[in-house]
């Protein structure tokens, strides 16, 4: 699958949540997990295996990239690798949100017709 294809293809739930978590700015692994939990109001709990497996595939697809390694001032003194969205990642996220909107529009219209 090419990078262009990835930007247009439907995303897995894990990839969508990671892209959403990174949309405001760069985060390290633990930061992504906390943001995913907050975005989903605790409904999605992602473990390190799922997170880093997805991160690896997303980096290969060009959706995200490593930014740099530095200390998080709010945490301990260990240096952490940060991840950020690429242009292709932002495009993929926008395309997925458009798909969701169109599905919601169809569903709402059908439910309204049913009533």
């Amino acid at each position: 699958m090419t990078k262009k294809d990835t930007a247009q293809a439907p995303l897995t739930p894990a990839v969508l949540h990671i892209l959403l978590a990174l949309s405001p700015g760069e985060r390290h692994g633990y930061g992504i997990m906390k943001q995913v939990e907050a975005d989903s109001q605790g409904k999605v709990k992602m473990g390190p295996g799922t997170l880093y497996g997805s991160v690896g595939r997303m980096m290969e697809a060009g959706l995200i990239r490593e930014s740099d390694k530095r200390v998080d001032p709010e945490m301990d003194d260990e240096r952490r690798i940060y991840y950020e969205l690429t242009g292709a990642g932002r495009t993929a996220l926008e395309a997925e949100l458009r798909r969701y909107r169109s599905v919601v529009a169809v569903a709402e219209g059908r439910l309204a017709y049913g009533q």
Partner: protein, 249 residues
Amino acid sequence: MASEIAVQRYRAWYAMLLRLYPRPFRERFGEGIAQTFHDLCLQRRNANRGLFGFVLWIFFETSKGVIMENTTHMTQLSKTMLRAALVALGLLMVPLVASRVVEGWNWPPGAFVFTYVLFFGTAMAYALIARKMGSWAYKGGVGVALVAGFALGWSNMVHVADSENPANLVYFSVLAVGVVGAWLARLEARGLARTLFAMAALLALIAVLLPTGAPPYLNRNMTIGHGVFVALFIASGLMFRHASLAGLK
């Protein structure tokens, strides 16, 4: 509330589990995964929540990831081997066709098998090394170094067999420098650049110091041959240097 000792113990066990990931994945993400696990444990501990059940879930979840990454890795390796085998077969067509067309080209079957193994080994080496870095300069450097190394080894092998002069075996020291240098550099671009420059320098030194014993009319051709190999090693070294500098930015 879980103690600091318990957190350290769980972290040590988790590090052992992470060793089951395929090596390339572990080298890339192992540190981050271990750090995230530690952060999660500290968060639970600071919230005065039990750790055992949570750690058990993380171990289970990570084990699923280990199986998935190993499966993906094996699939990729199989695909790489298949591609290398096909490329080697394509290259083998050259001597195969030549043995039919060129008069006096009479290789025994063993020579074709040996050549195929060399082609396959070189193609696999390219596939496995070149994926260490996404940069075109790194991939180009690997390609040029392998082609030049293969050609040097091959031509020297033929030359030694024809001339029966064991002094020519000294050329294999250039390849030995390459193998040892690549191993010491752990295939990092900066170290590989130095290795290729060292190979070029050693080959130039051998060309100057080793008496060829060849008639004067052949000396010119040998000088050109040496010059081409030195230029290829330098070109490869420059590409690795470019990849190294680009990686630092």
